[in-house]
């Protein structure tokens, strides 16, 4: 992949992310604005002494205020504001103070009477991303006491701002107005910060548990363990936004949550790649290696240079942001490995996450910040969406596939059943045919046995009779031979030479009685064009007819039978047939015509020639 293409993809991904970020900046959620019907306090006095019992002397201060970074012990600041007098106090009902954002702890006094403490005295102060709200008892307000008459100096609001160790103190403009006006603003702000973070925590924990279960159940997939790991990282991130106090000793927690971010990116990256069935690549190893590096760096800094822990954390997150951009570019490159919908959803979610991270950076690093509040609490929700959506998609895909498979299977079963039925039908038919063939054969044999036996018996009887009719005997002998030929050809569907052998055995006794003999030259097995019992019978009948004719008419001494693969030649050495006889077939009666007919059925050319040396019949095919 060329550098140019890589740069293009990086640029494109950056463009997407910046577009989302731009939209966020333009919308600027949480930016301070005067609530209708309420006052926004943005100027007061930053007292030189933090003790609220001392009179406040100091410099004027404008909100939003960002103080210097605290030392290892944290910092405490005091500010005083004048609460504007309300002439409409009687109509608006109870008054309230709404603090959209401050770091990291707040003690609130109205006319020196404490009305709110966001943390127990002494901390820990860990209240950097969510609002605070307090209803001011009417009795405390002078305006109310004097029934609308202005008191000199008015009502005084004193704020003690506590900074967490090594963090900076900060205070966004404070709203003062009727409870009925401010209550909803506070509730929304609280929802968008704390409650979203808690929701994210709950969901990521649930999701992680589900992924762990999946990882155990489907161990061979090797994909869900990464989803579980990224889920746990997201849970840590959510906890960071949702916790009321550091879940672990503060420095340890800084290390844990800082490392959870690169771990989330690396594990999610792996999960997505495994999920899309992509092979391991260099980037996966690099991002995992970076997790290890950041863990080591953060631990080292927390141990030996805790003052730089925030800077290290910011540095690591900046690198993670860079890695994320790189991975986005890679993902853009590999978009063809997944479906369009999946790619767009995943890529969009990742871009939004990156934009949210950048948005937080815009809040955390420039002073004054370029945006009004952190939105990092939404990141785990996006993560949840990605993993949940992916797994759901897989489920849907699996269901679709299963349905398709089941359908296919059903179709196949139907097809196979049909084929089976057809085969069974065919088998039945063929079985019936085989049975019929066997039966036919058996009947033929019975016929032969019975009729043949009778014929033999009749012939034997004729021989014993002193004056038996020679014609009768001839007819019986022919009948016997015919029957024998049929049985022989039934038994030998392919082997013509064997049939000729059987024929010889059957007709030779007749020949011998008339002083005829065979010159047997049966060499090659004739290969008839359309072999089978019928063709065999036709061929044998021709031979039989020739022999009969020779016996009757030729006065010959020898019949030569000679075979080749493609011919059969029969020749006698008697009186040869004359051409006229050949033409008219007169002498040989119907036999000649029947021989020609049979030759035609076999697909053979028959030639019959006669001369002084005898008669020659030749069949060629």
């Amino acid at each position: 992949m060329s550098l140019r293409a890589r740069a293009l993809q990086l640029g494109l991904s950056g463009l997407f992310v910046l577009s989302v970020l731009g939209a966020l900046v333009v919308l600027e959620p949480g930016h301070p604005q005067v609530q209708p019907g309420a006052d926004m306090l943005s100027s007061g006095t930053l007292c030189a002494q933090a003790d609220p019992m001392m009179p406040c002397a100091g410099a004027p201060v404008t909100l939003p205020f960002f103080g210097p970074f605290s030392g290892p012990e944290g910092a405490t600041l005091r500010m005083e504001f004048n609460l504007p007098s309300r002439s409409d106090a009687a109509q608006t009902g109870p008054m309230a103070l709404y603090f959209p954002l401050f770091s990291d702890g707040l003690d609130v006094f109205v006319n020196d009477v404490p009305v709110l403490r966001t943390a127990p005295p002494g901390g820990p102060y860990w209240h950097w991303n969510r609002p605070a709200y307090v209803r001011v008892p009417g009795a405390l307000l002078n305006g109310a006491l004097l029934n609308g008459a202005l008191l000199k100096g008015g009502d005084r609001l004193t704020l003690i701002l506590h900074g967490a160790p090594r963090f900076e103190t900060a205070l966004m403009p404070v709203h003062f107005g009727p409870d009925s006006v401010l209550r909803d603003r506070f509730a929304w702000r609280r929802t968008a910060t704390l409650e979203v973070a808690r929701l994210g925590l709950g969901l990521t924990l649930l999701c992680s548990l589900a992924m762990i279960a999946l990882a155990v159940v489907r161990r061979r997939d090797g994909v869900y363990k990464w989803a579980a790991l990224s889920g746990l990282s997201a849970a840590v991130l959510s906890l960071h936004y949702a916790a009321q106090r550091p879940p672990l000793p503060e420095l340890v927690w800084q290390v844990v949550w800082t490392v959870s971010v690169p771990l989330l990116v690396a594990a999610l990256h792996r999960f997505i790649r495994r999920f899309l069935r992509r092979p391991q690549n260099r980037e996966e190893h690099l991002s995992l290696a970076f997790v290890a590096v950041s863990a080591v760096v953060m631990t080292g800094i927390a141990l030996w240079a805790p003052h730089y822990v925030l800077i290290a954390s910011a540095g690591i997150h900046a690198v993670v942001l860079g890695i994320t951009f790189y991975l986005l570019a890679i993902f853009l490159r590999d978009r063809r490995f997944t479906t369009r919908g999946r790619f767009l959803t995943l890529y969009g979610a990742m871009c939004i996450t990156a934009a949210l991270a950048l948005h937080d950076a815009l809040f955390l690093y420039p002073r004054p910040p370029l945006v009004a509040m952190q939105l990092g609490q939404f990141m785990p929700l996006v993560f949840m969406f990605v993993t949940g959506w992916l797994v759901l998609m897989q489920l849907v895909t699996a269901l679709n596939r299963q349905e398709a498979l089941a359908g296919k299977l059903r179709q196949r079963v139907i097809d196979r059943s049909r084929a089976l039925r057809r085969t069974t039908d065919r088998l039945e038919v063929s079985e019936r045919e085989t049975l019929l063939a066997g039966e036919r054969e058996r009947i033929m044999m019975d016929l032969h046995d019975g009729v043949g036996g009778h014929l033999v018996n009749a012939l034997a009887g004729l021989r014993q009779a002193p004056h038996s009719d020679p014609q009768l005997r001839e007819v019986l002998e022919q009948a016997q031979t015919d029957l024998g030929l049929m049985v022989d050809s039934l038994y030998n569907p392919g082997d013509v030479v064997v049939l000729l052998g059987a024929l010889r055995a059957r007709v030779e006794p007749l020949l011998e009685r008339q002083g005829l003999r065979f010159d047997w030259q049966v060499e090659e097995n004739p290969r008839l064009p359309d072999p089978g019992p019928s063709a065999n019978i036709d061929l044998l009948r021709i031979v039989q007819e020739f022999v009969t004719n020779t016996l009757k008419h030729a006065d010959a001494a020898c019949i030569r039978v000679q075979t080749g693969a493609r011919h059969l030649c029969l020749a006698d050495d008697g009186r040869g047939i004359s051409p006229t006889e050949v033409e008219t077939g007169v002498r040989r009666g119907h036999g000649l015509a029947s021989m020609r007919r049979r030759a035609g059925r076999i697909g053979a050319q028959m030639s019959l020639t006669g001369g002084a040396e005898g008669t020659v019949l030749r069949l060629d095919w």
Binding site: D449, A460, Q464, R506, P509
Partner: protein, 224 residues
């Protein structure tokens, strides 16, 4: 059975017993044999029972028996002949050579299997062949035997006596093609008596291969 020895029971020409239920056929056979000077024919019998009785009583040298008899199969006679304690040979005469019958007859110990249409003209010749130690073999029967040999599985290397030699197969094939003994001898340039002893060997081997039919059937059914 010591076929070359003179009959022990009777002096004079060898006695031939005919077991045939068709009387004209039986009578014709008896006549042909009686007409021959060096053979004697016993009165024909027409059933298995009478045949067995006559066999035991007359102790003939040769028995010509049909297979399909009214009270059973001629094979029973053949088996009885094989157990005879005097020199005696059985020749099966049948209308046609159905494979099963041929094999069973040879296994039962028949010395020859002759088709009826042949035997009417050649009864004396057939009996003489057997008496001289030969075995009559018609093309039809030779064809059956050849089929059996071809269907049987390849013999083991040292399978020995029961397998046919190439020469025996050759002779079987020639006979099946219709060649007579003399012609076979001429074609193979061997003597007629050598052909005869080959044919004897074929019979003997096929008799020994008692499982040949089972093997052939298995081959036909595609089990081998």
């Amino acid at each position: 059975m010591t076929s070359n020895n003179a009959p022990l029971s009777d002096a004079g020409p060898p006695l031939v017993l005919i077991v045939e239920d068709r009387h004209q056929t039986a009578e014709q056979l008896r006549r042909e044999i009686s007409d021959c000077e060096d053979l004697r024919a016993a009165p024909p019998v027409d059933c298995v029972e009478a045949g067995l009785e006559a066999l035991a009583r007359l102790r003939p040298r040769i028995v010509l028996t049909d297979l399909g008899l009214p009270d059973g199969s001629g094979l029973e006679i053949v088996r009885a002949v094989a157990k005879a304690d005097w020199p005696c040979e059985a020749i099966v005469i049948s209308v046609f050579g159905e494979e099963r019958n041929v094999v069973e007859a040879i296994r039962a110990g028949a010395r020859g299997y002759v088709l009826k249409f042949e035997v009417l003209d050649r009864a004396v010749e057939v009996v003489h062949t057997v008496l001289s130690g030969g075995s009559p073999l018609s093309p039809q029967v030779a064809r059956h035997l050849l089929t059996l040999v071809e269907r049987a599985p390849a013999p083991p290397k040292n399978g020995g006596a029961s397998e046919l030699t190439p020469r025996e197969c050759e002779i079987l094939a020639l006979v099946a093609r219709g060649y007579k003994r003399e012609e076979v001898a001429a074609r193979l340039s061997i003597s007629v008596s050598t052909v005869g002893s080959h044919i004897n060997a074929i019979y003997r081997k096929l008799e020994v291969r008692s499982n040949i039919e089972a093997v052939a059937r298995a081959g036909r059914l595609g089990l081998l």
